[in-house]
């Protein structure tokens, strides 16, 4: 028959309790987030990890939900969001898209060349990082068709765009070649209005709103990420796939 010693003297109990309390010390590691010089670096690493996992979750063939015409919000209810001005005064007569980088056919491309590519129309949800969302109707050419037109290097990894209002953005090539990623020149079956990014914008239902740059002026195909993005340089996520 086993003999159990169920007693412990006070002093030993205090020692045991103290030891158990000290075992909680790892919790204090979280305090690093409260130390200003460490905080920025830690948050940057955290955001980077979120971006990395988002990129891992991205599936090239997986489509964003599309909607019936009856689910599309009226055009007047589709918000206009910019960071500086709504209309940078693009001159449609002289506008071209300047293509450069790892492409066989760099140079100036006219809107008619983009419009000559197969036109895709899609009703998709636009989600702003602020939290609101709206279902709109968009039309344009697949960015992947345009990249084939300009002879983009298949080994290229990034697309960078610049805009008439000094906004700029960049995309991973997997998203750029996604079937729903458009060089968009139409909304609600009409040419883009000035405030919505005329004559050409990115429309990417698999990305957050701020990556869908308006009033494009330049497009560069690269192997390395050179320019990141206006909002990313302020501290937002780069990948932000939905």
């Amino acid at each position: 028959m086993k003999n159990y010693n169920r007693k412990m003297d006070e002093k030993k109990f205090r020692q045991v309790s103290r030891r158990e309390l000290l075992k909680l010390t790892p919790v204090l590691a979280l305090g690093a987030f409260a130390i200003p010089p460490l905080q920025e670096g830690l948050l940057k690493k955290g955001l980077h990890f979120s971006d990395w996992s988002a990129a891992r979750l991205f599936r090239k063939g997986h489509l964003a939900p599309t909607f019936d015409d009856s689910d599309v919000a009226p055009f007047a209810k589709f918000p206009i969001n910019g960071y500086d001005i709504d209309d940078p005064g693009v001159d449609f007569d002289t506008w071209t898209l300047t293509v450069s980088g790892a492409v066989q056919k760099p140079g100036e491309y006219k809107l008619s060349q983009v419009q000559a590519l197969p036109r895709i129309r899609q009703n998709t949800r636009h989600i702003c990082v602020e939290g609101w969302d709206v279902v709109g109707r968009f039309g344009g050419a697949r960015l992947s068709d345009f990249l084939n037109l300009v002879g983009a290097d298949p080994a290229a990894r990034f697309i960078t765009v610049s805009c008439a209002d000094d906004y700029y953005e960049s995309l991973d090539i997997a998203t750029a070649r996604h079937p729903q990623t458009l060089l968009c020149y139409e909304m609600y079956d009409q040419p883009l209005s000035r405030e919505h990014g005329a004559p050409l914008r990115l429309q990417i239902p698999t990305k957050i709103g701020y990556k869908q740059a308006k009033y494009l002026t330049e497009l560069k195909v690269t192997h390395v990420l050179e320019k990141v993005g206006y909002w990313e340089d302020q501290g937002y996520s780069w990948f932000y796939g939905l």
């Binding site: 412990m8 309390l21 919790v27 955290g46 988002a54 964003a64 909002w231 939905l242």
Partner: protein, 248 residues
């Protein structure tokens, strides 16, 4: 699993002096549980604070045009300073929050310790007497185990809410890659509402939890720090623990 009980005795000089019991103690909370509890408490605080910062950017669940704000949450009670900052904290701490949740659940299941916390059918009759005692001046039901039925209900609900906060969060964060999950919730727009609602349910739990911790005194609070609860109400003299088993 019955918690093992020890008797704390006065330190004596002589071997043959009778031991004077000054208190009893039970090892209620294993180290993993305690670590997860405190790390998750900090993580939850940051998730709520940064989440409300994100909410401030569009404090509405309707259309953008016209925008009708639901409530104004003060910047002073949010973490991050602005939307970009709020997102940095939220998208960093979510991994800590999720990791502690997984470690906690895994530990509870694989150690069998979940029985201490999990609300089951057998707990249903015990809920009302506990509610009557706390809110309607009913008499205090005798304590038979570490957690009474109402506690088990609260903690089980809290765990479910924690899981829901992550699922709704993923639907809001990745409504395309997790489109099936978002669809279950009614789509992105509704997932955002559910995420917000789950947060308030969790805050309600936290409020109740803190009130109960205060009401139940120092010894109870200390048990989540050292694992040991002094003078538990449910002490059963038939429980025994060898000295060399203590702290394992």
């Amino acid at each position: 699993m019955r918690e093992s009980v020890i008797e704390i005795v006065q330190a004596t000089q002589k071997e043959d002096d009778a031991a004077v019991v000054v208190a009893r103690a039970v090892y209620e909370h294993p180290l993993v549980v305690r670590l997860c509890h405190w790390i998750n408490a900090v993580a939850l605080f940051v998730m709520v604070g940064s989440g409300l910062q994100i909410f401030r950017a569009f404090p509405s669940f309707g259309a953008k045009i016209p925008q009708k704000d639901l409530l104004h949450w003060p910047r002073a009670f949010a973490i991050g300073g602005w939307l970009g900052g709020g997102l940095q904290w939220h998208l960093t701490f979510m991994w800590i929050y999720i990791a502690t949740g997984i470690v906690y659940l895994g530990y509870q299941i694989f150690s069998g310790n979940y029985r201490q916390v999990l609300f089951t059918r057998r707990d249903i009759p015990g809920v009302w007497p506990m509610v009557r005692h706390y809110f309607f001046f009913g008499e205090k039901p005798p304590a038979r185990e570490a957690y009474n039925s109402l506690q088990k209900q609260a903690y089980t609900a809290a765990i479910i809410l924690g899981i829901l906060s992550v699922l709704t969060g993923f639907a809001v964060w990745k409504p395309v890659q997790f489109s099936w999950l978002a669809w279950l919730m009614g789509g992105f727009h509704y997932a955002r509402i559910w995420h917000f609602a789950v947060m308030w349910a969790i805050l309600l739990f936290v409020f109740g939890h803190l009130v109960m911790v205060i009401l139940h005194g120092w010894n109870n609070f200390v048990s989540m720090l050292t694992g040991w609860k002094k003078d538990p109400e449910y002490f059963d003299p038939n429980d025994a623990m060898r000295e060399d088993e203590v702290g394992k």
